[in-house]
């Protein structure tokens, strides 16, 4: 079994870290994992994506995930929802968005499982701001775990977060945001 996840964000928001954290959580859960940031030449602020693979066996694939195979999408930056190739997604694909409202284009996708969480507010509440930019790397993963019915464990994600940020208040804030997002996430269809 292999789960392929794509994370959409802007350079600087934490999408790449998010992918790493999710992979690390999978690793802690004794899964085989890959975190693949797709590097472009873009600079801070440009849209980027990162892929995660979580599998029961060693992953031999190195190409980026094939959109028609994806299991779920995590959207840190709501405007990027426009860039999803909805036609290619298989029915039941999960799409999680950081937003208070579901954007119209998502509402149209009847075959997909759409969910939302107000990650921005959560991150802000938890103080996850660096030079004016919200750090969303952990928050949205909390939502994803809820959405996927603990495809990796919350415990593992918290552990991964601690490994990433070290013991201290930063980790605490992140963990709080994970928990809040886990609580607040909801599917809308």
């Amino acid at each position: 079994m292999m789960t392929e996840i794509r994370i959409l964000s802007r350079g600087g928001q934490g999408g790449v870290t998010s992918a790493k954290l999710l992979a690390k959580a999978g690793h802690i859960d004794n899964k085989f994992v890959q975190a693949i940031p797709k590097y472009g030449a873009e600079r801070k602020g440009a849209p980027i994506y990162a892929d995660v693979r979580i599998a029961d066996e060693h992953v031999k694939i190195h190409a980026p995930v094939i959109t028609s195979n994806t299991h779920s999408w995590i959207i840190l930056e709501p405007s990027l929802v426009e860039t999803i190739p909805f036609d290619e997604l298989k029915p039941g694909t999960i799409v999680i968005i950081n937003s208070q409202e579901i954007p119209p284009v998502l509402n149209e996708q009847k075959n997909l499982k759409i969910g939302k969480v107000d990650g921005a507010t959560i991150a802000r509440e938890c103080g996850l701001i660096k030079s004016g930019t919200l750090m969303l790397s952990t928050t949205m993963l909390g939502a994803w775990i809820k959405a996927t019915d603990n495809l990796v464990s919350l415990e593992a994600l918290k552990k991964a977060t601690e490994l990433q940020f070290g013991v201290g208040s930063l980790t605490d804030s992140n963990i709080r945001s994970i928990e809040m997002a886990y609580e607040q996430f909801e599917f809308v269809n």
């Binding site: 030449a41 873009e42 600079r43 801070k44 602020g45 440009a46 030079s131 004016g132």
Partner: protein, 295 residues
């Protein structure tokens, strides 16, 4: 000669909007100001952020003829262009546009050779004090004490004095300028354009991404660098140095803003101890003193 904005408003943009630069990028300001000041520029760009912000083939955001070339080949490629265009009887300004890495480090031989041959080239170096394109590694331009990804505990050597090294090459024109003062930059470029031979302009160009600074204060950082004496503005014409008005004004260290005001606004200086700041101050003052010998 002073910049009149209305004259310029209707010039075509040299750097088109919708490019790959980070928000608040100092290099972009430097490029726009410099290249707009020139008639018929042909720009040679080695590897650096400037080779990335032009965006992806087959579209580019530079609106002037541009030759992208290997990191250490800028001044030689420009020599070829400058010679070829003369042969063809076309009047152009051949510009080398490099980062500090291309000028202070890997490309020293190429420009030093071109300077010795006194090739007809305007060499502009936008200086952000490290390799921003590859993720903030140290360069020869990195000041003592600054943190980069290859000097994680702060650089232990002083910043190379590229202007004095240039001066020792006895080229006809050298200037420093800053995105903090685009009018001054523009004026200096205009002046340089009138001179034949190898000319050099060093442009302080804050990099909010790598310096870890607020993009909105790019101009302010440029100004603070001058006002704190961190980055002196001057011109050297045929060996004679003249401090530009804004630097002349802070020649007396007493009249400078405290260096900390400049440093504290940038992540790369965050870890500096007061001792480290003192060492940096000493480097800076020494540079002022050495420059003053050429007045």
């Amino acid at each position: 000669m002073s910049i009149k904005i209305p004259q310029l408003l209707n010039r075509p943009d040299v750097l088109l909007r919708g490019n790959f630069a980070c928000a608040g990028c100092g290099l972009s300001i430097a490029y726009r100001t410099t290249i707009s000041a020139l008639e018929n520029p042909i720009v040679v760009i080695p590897a650096c952020c400037a080779s990335v912000i032009q965006s992806l083939h087959p579209n580019v955001t530079y609106n002037v003829p541009t030759l992208n070339i290997a990191f250490a080949a800028h001044a030689s490629a420009a020599s070829g262009i400058s010679r070829g265009k003369k042969r063809r009887g076309e009047k152009v300004t051949t510009v080398v546009w490099t980062g500090d890495g291309g000028t202070y480090d890997i490309g020293v031989s190429t420009w030093s050779g071109a300077a010795e041959r006194n090739e007809d080239i305007l060499h502009c170096c936008y200086d952000n004090g490290f390799y921003s394109n590859t993720g903030a590694q140290r360069s020869g331009a990195t000041p003592r004490g600054a943190v980069t990804t290859t000097t994680p505990t702060g650089k232990t050597e002083k910043r190379k004095s590229i202007t004095r090294i240039m001066m020792a090459h006895d080229i006809p024109y050298i200037a420093t300028a800053s995105v903090g003062y685009p009018r001054d930059l523009y004026t200096k470029v205009k002046k340089a354009a009138q001179i034949e031979g190898y000319r050099f302009i060093l442009i302080d160009a804050p990099c909010p991404t790598g310096w870890n600074s607020d993009p909105a204060i790019t101009r302010e950082l440029g100004r603070l660098a001058v006002q704190t004496g961190y980055f002196p503005l001057f011109e050297v014409e045929n060996g004679k140095l003249t401090f530009s008005r804004r630097s002349e004004r802070v020649r007396d260290p007493e009249r400078r803003k405290p260096l900390e005001e400049y440093l504290s606004k940038q992540g790369r200086f965050k870890q500096m101890t007061s001792e480290a700041i003192k060492a940096l101050s000493k480097d800076l003052q020494r540079e002022w003193d050495l420059l003053a010998r050429f007045e």
